[in-house]
Each structure stands twice: as structure tokens, then as C-alpha cells.
Symmetry: D2
Subunit: 336 residues, 4 copies
């Protein structure tokens, strides 16, 4: 057994906790440093999962006992922390999005491309075992030539208004996962058409954002992708995916907390509602995402989405926003 | 198009109405005579579906305008009416059971066997399109050698006490359908083991009958059949069937009134309860049963269960009763 | 029982046969006249289902024994035949579309609106028992406020090139059913966005048509509708529908020819492929469509889509075509 | 965090490996000693999962650093090892069955009952999260009064002949799990009726054993349980369970390796076959079984089946064997 990689972690909010737990649980990783300007968060995380706590990012870049970084701090800090990780030549896993401003992403792009150390993006859904199996089976040709993807993705409940305000809007915050999932199957998206609506949330409307959107993507080979989102779902986290090809279709329905079906005088074949929290649905995906990052660091052919994937998803989100606001289809070239 | 067959119908109770409607709806049949000692029932049935009404069975056997008979009168009349149909050389479809007393059935057996005109039994489930498809696919070898059948059959609600009193008991009244379905796949049953219980109905217990039973049948090739019955089911008519073989399994789940699945904050993937009445589930089967009878009369290779099938089901019911009462497995020989 | 309505039928092609059979099978209708310029088709249809045959439409309008018309002749004849039915004050059921040219439809609009006799359109899917149940349950508020519809509709196989050439294009020929289904739930569509692709058929591409399309509709209340179509489907006729609301979701999956699930060493829980022909899926709908038309003629509140519905569907098809060709969302006002 | 319990493990065959892995993976347990007369097995297990290796059971009972034992050695050793664990006052988890001979079990019964330290039995299925949820929901009254259980349990493939020879027969080796599952819901079984067959395996027939059996259990309240077993299943490990009550039914279908449904020109809604190995289905159950044992040791109300449960399952297996051989229902009293 090889020596575990020593991780530094930025950010100890909800998603930071997820990564701390994954690092702690992996036999191939240990948590060495935890950084959060709210140093109490850093301290309690370190107490739970190991490592030293600090409020100062500089402490981590100055340390000589860090093999890899996880950046789970707020979005505005991502570009700077990636930049410093590149300078320090430390492999980094950064939560999505890289930034809400494509100009800031582009400014870092050449440097990321030139780096000998990996920068990978936290698009965890690629590592969900079910989606990963679907992608593999499509790639193996089980349904012939891929023609259409249908993605339905609805959150259990709308986020707090404070979160909406800094989220960058539904396309950059929520649909971005679906953009990356589409690119998991069809990397070369060339055209984006989107529509948005305000169906139920006055808070989201007041923030100038949509609470439901529909997006059509077109890939270079003429493939069509539909994405339907809503910021609420009475029956729990709605996460469905299907791939349609010349030879057939592969489908993943919702996965809930129970497999038991109930039959009563009211209803039959009924299950309890789907998950009410994304971690219940994607817990495994976060763990496997970390393992894939460790594999990448170990020199295996990387299965992790990289800086270019993070940039591509943001370009698609920007294009969707522009399309929804103007009523026009927007051409994109992710290869430029 | 050939001339429609002219039918005489005995009995205008619930099941008589079903047959009157099937005869009337078929382009190959007309209702010519309707007989019921409650002559008002005969008259209203004739008014609805055609034909002459009478209280006297003799009128039908004396008539010269009857091509076929349906016997849907009470069980105690069946043997006599079949006997007279045999004498009159008129094809007859008789509702199950032939009689509750195997001695009376056996007394008619040789005469039925010698008849040039068919006597067929109303085991309608063989004509349910789903069960018929399952039987065909098993016969075609889709699951290799048949090894096990699992039948679950539960009624929506217990019958009235008056019905229970004359029913002959659950094995002869309800399980008899499952015995015939088992024989649809495995005609040569050689051994019967049964257990009965009183789980919920004091009325049924007071009548000395069981409200739930479990039966194991063994066929000549060592195949095993399990039947589970209950006289009630909160979620509607529960009618399931599966065939297990050396190469796989074929399964029919419950078929309900709606295919829509509902997803709410309470339950997901839920359907409205199954049928609350056997006719909703087996309406097609009754119509197809009549058509098969007409085909048999027309000289086609008969798909209809005959007198011997009616006798076999009763023997199995008797054996089940005996087994449940004595705690002993009972050998049977349906070929004697 | 009232006297059956005497029907005149225009057109004896595939869909004409469907209507002839429905008329013949209904106890409330008889086929009185059959008209087709290919008079042999008219004759054989009359021989099978009743009525007199002619090659001359004028014979029907001159006859004094016709209570209702079914117009199932080629699309270019529809406007003229509706016009003459209006003049003759005979109720008419016309197959979709009214015409491929909205100008010709509009020219007839005021006259149709002023008629005392109904003109109804053959959008049969509204009468599919499953879709009708779904619409009813949504209308009853089972899922709260309706927010999104998702329609997936794929044909088993592409039509012959000769058919494609005169079809008016996929939006006017195929998606038009989905436009009407969307309007069954959300009549007031205000905005159309569409994308088209050429994924597999060089014949369709050569005809300048798309073989796969995706459409987003917006209704007056901000509701979003997604439609995904393909002209082929390896696994059979793919017809799915779901309605998402503030309180939940109702869903109809595919309905195939068999309910049996098979379990083998290769695959489990498997069913035989879905229908390969639209009549297998929508046979009941055609029969119920005719009954609803008869109800409308009898003066009941009409459940049948009318001339305005036919016009609306065509407007949406035109808008979709325009959107797909220009890359712009198209506003529509169906109330003008 | 409390100090991990130090475990001694007897047996390093297949099931011993499972326990070694569970102990090693639990933060509340460490593997301290590994014992197997094939000392190489003990050594390699210790190398993988920790602890000292020995061929001598006496070494473990002499050691002063063992807090708990897992007995996963061959069945004939169980009684002796439990006996010595009782003498040493060390909590023990013993694999099922306690022994194949009820007399040897009974000889140890009083001593086990008198012990202050727990002896628990390895009926892992009680800890399967799905079955445990089902049991909890039934206990909470979701389906009213429990009336019937239906258990279908089929192994993917028959065991090697050498295993069959020492297995004690299908009832004591395979059905024993289903007996315990029945008792998880209905502890007080009072009557056993069983039938056995030889359907496919000449090796099993030659060993004088059955390859397929059907059992009916009756509980003290008149509840009925059906169990259907087969030693092979072409489509993988078939493990289904349903509970029927006065108010409804709860059901667990098969759980396989993939949730993806495939739709092709051959079959639709199809999944890849179920698991081909029991560990894939019950891996979680083994881990949770160990945790429950640790909870029991920690003084929590025990959720683990105990010595009496192990004895009861064996009594039911003996009764089933007797019933199948004699054709008579066998009364049992598990409370004597």
C-alpha cells in the first residue's frame, strides 16, 4: 500500500464537509491542512477529520507537507486559489464553477493548460456509478449512434434568497451540472437555445433569476440535448437521464431512499418520495470523484473533468443566459 | 360471414348477465332463449340482449332453434342441465364447478366422454390474453423446462355469508380457478398439499370455511406449484402469476384500471388501486371464452377446457380440502 | 336506442379504413356512403363496412341520407370538403391538418365559426383513455398548479420518401399531434422555440426536412412544454407524457403489446418491444374520437377539438418551422 | 470515540474473509487474532486485515487481548467453540447453523441461556437495509394485521457436490435463512409443511437431497408463510419478500447490479441480470450485522438474533425435512 496523499482543504461549508469526510474515509488520503477564514470552521473540521487548521491560505502554500488541494471555498476565491496552486505545482480539485466571469477564467486558461500538475473540476455527477455506467455503455455502442439526450433535473426546494443572490443565476449554478453531463457524452456542443420562466418563486423573480428553465443543446454531429430544470419538486430530488440512439435507448430513473413498494386501499406500487438532499443521491459520486482525482495524480489516464471542462460548462451557461434573454439561438465554439 | 349461432342461456344472475352480454356483442352469436325460474330476470335479460324468456328449462330443450347452450344457473342445476344437453346433442358451455360432489360428476363422465357434441367448462382465465400469452411462451420453450409456478390470487372482499354457505368452500369456489390455471401449464397434477387459516372473517369461520389458504401442487414431472389465496385484499383484486424454468422466468403482475404513475410529497411511482371487481380484470377473458367455444363448435381444435378439466379441478379441490383437514399430502390420479 | 347516424366517408386510404371500421363497429353509426376518386377503394370499403360507393364528392352532398361526414381524404382536399359540409350544414370530422397553408385555413375560419353544425378535428390522442385520464387528473388539481409538460414522441420508422414530400414537414405532419396535446392541457400557447436536426435519414434530409426536432412552448401563465421527436425508434412507438406541477407529477410511460416481464441469463424485467404501428397504440382513441363526435352532434358539450384547435396547431407548426429555420423564438397569439 | 473492540476470528474460508473485511473496515473493531487449522489461511488473512495468526483455537481462549469472537469455521466446530466462548465469557457471533444436530444444540442451550455474555447468530439477512425497513414498517402497522408472508429465494447456481454432501440438506443449509426471515416477522411458528423435488440436478439427487422445495409455515396467530426455493436461477440471485396484511401489502423485489433500463429492437425496459453471488446482494448486511453485534456488546437492546433463534431455525429445518419425507404436517413448539 502506498503512502496516503496529504490533502489541504479550502472551505469548510457544506461542500467542504463532504470533501473532508471523503478524504478522511479514503485509505489513500489524509487531511493535513484545513483552511477557512472562519477559523472555527477550520478547527472543528480538523478536529473531526484530522489535520491542522488555519485562516490563512498562505499557510497551505507555504507548507511542505501537502500533496494535493481541494478548493471548496466560495466561488469568488476559486481563480486566485487555482492560480496559486498552479504556481506551487500542487494538484488541485476545484468545486464548480471556476468563476462566474468567463473573462477571469480565460485569463487563467493558458497557465492551466501549460501546467504539469492537474487541475480538475468538481463535476461529481460524472462519478455517480449509474451515470458512469450509462456513459460507458453508450460509448461501447450499445445503442448505436447517439442521437438525443434527455435530462430532467429538479431540486427538492428552492435555495435561500441569500444564496440565489450570489449564485450567478440558475444556468451557472444549477444547469451547469447538466451542461457538464451533456458534455460527458457529447463534448463538442456547438449551439445553445434556452428559455426561462418564473413559475412559483417571487424571491427568485425578485432576484431577476428564473425558477424553471428549458435548454436545447446541439452537438457537432447534429445530436440534440434537452434539459428541463426546476428549482422545486414536491416529490424530492428529480434526477433523470436518458440516451437515445439509432439502435435503442438507455434510461436512468430516479433513485430514492427505499426500494419497497407499498399497496394500500389508496395507492399501489408506491414508494416513499425521492431524496430531499443532493448528498443522499450523490454521496457515492463525491467519494468516487476524490478517488479519480487521486488516480489522476498517480499518473493514470485522467477520468476527471479538467479546467477546459469547467470553462466549457461556464460558456454554455453564459450562452443559455444570453439565449433566454434575447430569444435567439447562440452559437458557441468550445475549441477556440 | 356465416349465420350467427343461436344461444340458449340458463341463469340470469351476475354471471348470466356477463354471458348474455358476450353473446349479444359477438357477431357470431345471437341470444335466442333465456331461462330462469325467476322469470322476471329472464324477461329483462331478453329485453336487453334479445331472445325469448321462459322459466322452464324444458322449453329450451324442446325448441328447434337453439345451436348452443350456456349454463350459468346455480351449481346444483349444472349436472342435470349438462345431462339434458348431452341428450339433446347441443353443445354446452357450463360455468364452473360442474358440481360440488365428485360422485355426481363421475356419474356423468362416461356419457360426456362419449358425446359427439362438446361440453366445455367456464374457466375463463385461460382466455385472459395475458395468461394465454404466458402459457404460449412457456410452451414455446422460452424459459426451458418448466420447474415452478407461483400463483397469488386474492379477492377484493369476502363474499356475502349466504354465498359462502353454498359455495362448497374456498377450495371448490375460489382456488378452483387457480387449480385450472396450474393445469393449463401442468395438466398432470399428482399430489396436493394444502393449509388453511381463519385470519379475518368470523362469518367465514362460522361457516366452517377458511378465509386464506396455501396450496402446493406437484406435477408428474416433479414440478412444484404454489398457490396463495385470501378472501380479501385492501388494494384490490390481486392476480399474479409466474412461471420459473431452467432457463428463466416469465411474470405477470397485477393489471389495474390506470397506467398513470403519480409522484407527490407523500408517495412516488404510485398507481390507483387494482380492480375491485373480477369483471374489470377478466372482462376480455369472458368474451374470448365465448369465441373459443364457438370455434370449438365450428370444428376447430378445441382450446376450451372440457368436462375432464372441470372434473380434474374438482378432484384437486377435494384433495386440498382433505389435505388441509388432515395435515397429510394427498395423492391424486387425474387419469384414472 | 336512437337511430344510428348515417355517415358519409371521404377517403379510403389507411386512415379512411380506420374510420370506416369505427363507424361500422359503433351501434350509434352506420356507413351510408363511401367516396374515393379511386372508386375501387370506395367499393371494397363499402363491401366491408356497408354503404354506397362513389368517386364523386358531389354525390354525397346531393344525398339526403347523410347525417355526418368523416373527411379522411388527402390534406389538399380538406378545406374544400369542409367548406361544402358547412354549406350543406352537415357535421364533419376532418383529419388533421386542415391544410398545410394557414392562409387557406384563415379564409375558411369565419365561416366555420358562424356554422351551427360542428366541424371537429381528428386529433385522436385527446381520446386515448390514458391521456384523457391524465388531463382530467391535472384539471382536478391533483398536482397543484401545472408548471411543465414533457412530451416524448418518436415514430417506429421513417415514412416513405413520397409521403415525406407531401407531408408539409415534420412539424406540420408529426409534431402537430404533440402541439395539440400540449394545448389539451395549456390551450393558450404564446411562444414557440424549435430546433431541428438531420440525424439518420438522407431521404428526409434530401427533402429539406428534419428527422428529429425539439420544441419548447411557453403558455400564457409561464408554463413550459418540451417536445422531443424522432422519425425513428428502434424499440417501437415511443409515446410518453408527463405533467409536472407545484404539488407533484403525473406520468404515462409507454404502453406495449405485452405486460409480461421476462427474466433470463441475458436480461431481466424485460418486455417485448413497443408497438410498431400507431393503430396498435391508438386504436381505442380512434373509436372514442368517433363516439365523442356523435356526442357533439347529439348536442352534448363538445369534447372534440374544433376548427380553432386545428388552426392553432397549424400556427404552432408554422412558428416552430420558422423558429428552427431562423434561430429565433417566435411569438404567437392564438386568440387573434 | 471509544476504543475499538479486539476481535478473534475462527475460520478463514469464504465467509471468514467477509467477516475479516467487516472487522477491518469498522472504526469500532480491529482484528486481533485469526485462527485456522490451515495456518496459511490464517496468516494471509492476518496479513490483509491485521492480527496474529494461529492454527490453535486454544491460543485465542488463552489470550488476554480479545473482546469478541466471530466463529466462521466449519459447522461441526460451532458447538465446541461457542461452549468455550461461554466458558471464557467472551461475546461470540457464530455463523449459522449452530449445528446440524438439534441434540447437540439442545445440550448447549441452558448454558447459553445462563450466560451473561451474548452469543449471536449470523442470520445476516435481518440486517439487509431493505428487509430491515420492511420489518420495521410492518411492525409499525403500515399494513394492519400481518396475515401472509411470501418468500422466494433462489440461488444463482447449485453448490459443488462436496458442499452438498456436508450441508445437512437444503432445508438446513439454504431454507434456514428463510426460516429465520419468517421468524423475524413471526417468531412463534407452530406448524411446518414442506414438499421437495428433484428438478434439475443429478448430483443433488444422488446425494439424497432436494434441489427445489416449497414450505408452508403457520404462526401462532394463524398467519401463513410460503417459501419457494431453488438451487439454481438462470437470471441470477432471486431474493424476493412480501408481507400481506389486513390493510395492504409491502413488497421487495430483486435488487441487481444496475438500475439502467435498456430498450432495443429485441426487448424494452430490460436490466442486466441480478447478482450472481450472495455477497453482492448482502454485502451491506454483513457489515451491519457486525455493527449490531458491537452494539449488543455495548449493552444496547440487542437487535441480533441469538442462540434461541439459531435453535428455532434448526427446529424448523428438521420439521420441514420430516414433513417433506413423510407427507405430513409437523407441529413444533419453539417455546418448549
Amino acid at each position: 500500500m502506498t503512502t496516503p496523499l496529504r490533502f489541504g482543504l479550502f472551505g469548510t461549508g457544506r461542500i467542504g464537509q463532504v470533501h473532508a469526510a471523503s478524504i478522511s474515509a479514503s485509505p489513500r488520503a489524509t487531511l493535513q491542512w484545513v483552511c477557512d477564514p472562519f477559523v472555527d470552521g477550520a478547527r472543528s473540521t480538523a478536529a473531526n477529520y484530522g489535520g491542522r487548521a488555519t485562516a490563512e491560505p498562505a499557510d497551505l502554500f507555504a507548507a511542505d507537507d501537502i500533496d494535493a488541494l481541494v478548493i471548496a471555498s466560495p466561488t469568488p476565491t476559486h481563480v486566485d486559489l487555482i492560480d496559486r496552486a498552479l504556481d506551487a505545482q500542487i494538484p488541485a480539485l476545484c468545486e464548480k464553477p471556476i468563476d462566474l466571469d468567463i473573462a477571469r477564467v480565460d485569463a487563467l486558461r493558458a497557465k492551466a493548460a501549460a501546467s504539469t500538475q492537474p487541475v480538475v473540476l468538481g463535476f461529481n455527477r460524472r462519478f455517480d456509478p449509474h451515470f458512469a455506467e450509462l456513459q460507458r455503455r453508450v460509448a461501447e455502442g450499445e445503442i448505436g449512434t447517439l442521437e438525443q439526450l434527455s435530462i430532467i433535473s429538479r431540486d427538492p426546494a428552492e435555495p435561500p434568497a441569500a444564496y440565489v443572490a450570489v449564485s450567478g443565476g440558475i444556468f451557472r449554478d444549477m444547469t451547469i451540472h447538466d451542461f457538464d453531463m451533456a458534455r460527458f457524452f457529447l463534448p463538442d456542443i456547438v449551439r445553445v437555445t434556452a428559455r426561462g420562466a418564473n413559475q412559483f418563486s417571487s424571491a427568485i423573480a425578485d432576484a431577476g433569476d428564473f425558477d424553471a428553465v428549458v435548454v436545447t443543446l446541439e452537438a457537432a454531429g447534429g445530436e440534440l440535448v434537452t434539459i428541463a430544470n426546476s428549482r422545486h419538486s414536491a416529490y424530492g430530488y428529480d434526477q433523470r437521464f436518458e440516451a437515445f440512439g439509432s439502435g435503442g435507448m438507455l434510461q436512468i430513473g430516479n433513485i430514492g431512499p427505499s426500494v419497497i413498494t407499498a399497496h394500500t386501499a389508496s395507492l399501489v406500487e408506491a414508494r416513499v418520495p425521492y431524496h430531499s438532499f443532493f448528498l443522499e443521491r450523490y454521496g457515492d459520486a463525491y467519494r468516487l470523484e476524490l478517488e479519480a482525482f487521486i488516480d489522476t495524480i498517480a499518473g493514470e489516464p485522467s477520468r476527471s473533468p479538467g479546467f477546459e471542462d469547467g470553462r466549457a460548462a461556464l460558456i454554455l451557461a453564459d450562452a443559455a443566459e444570453q439565449s433566454a434573454r434575447t430569444g435567439r439561438t447562440v452559437d458557441v465554439d468550445l475549441n477556440l
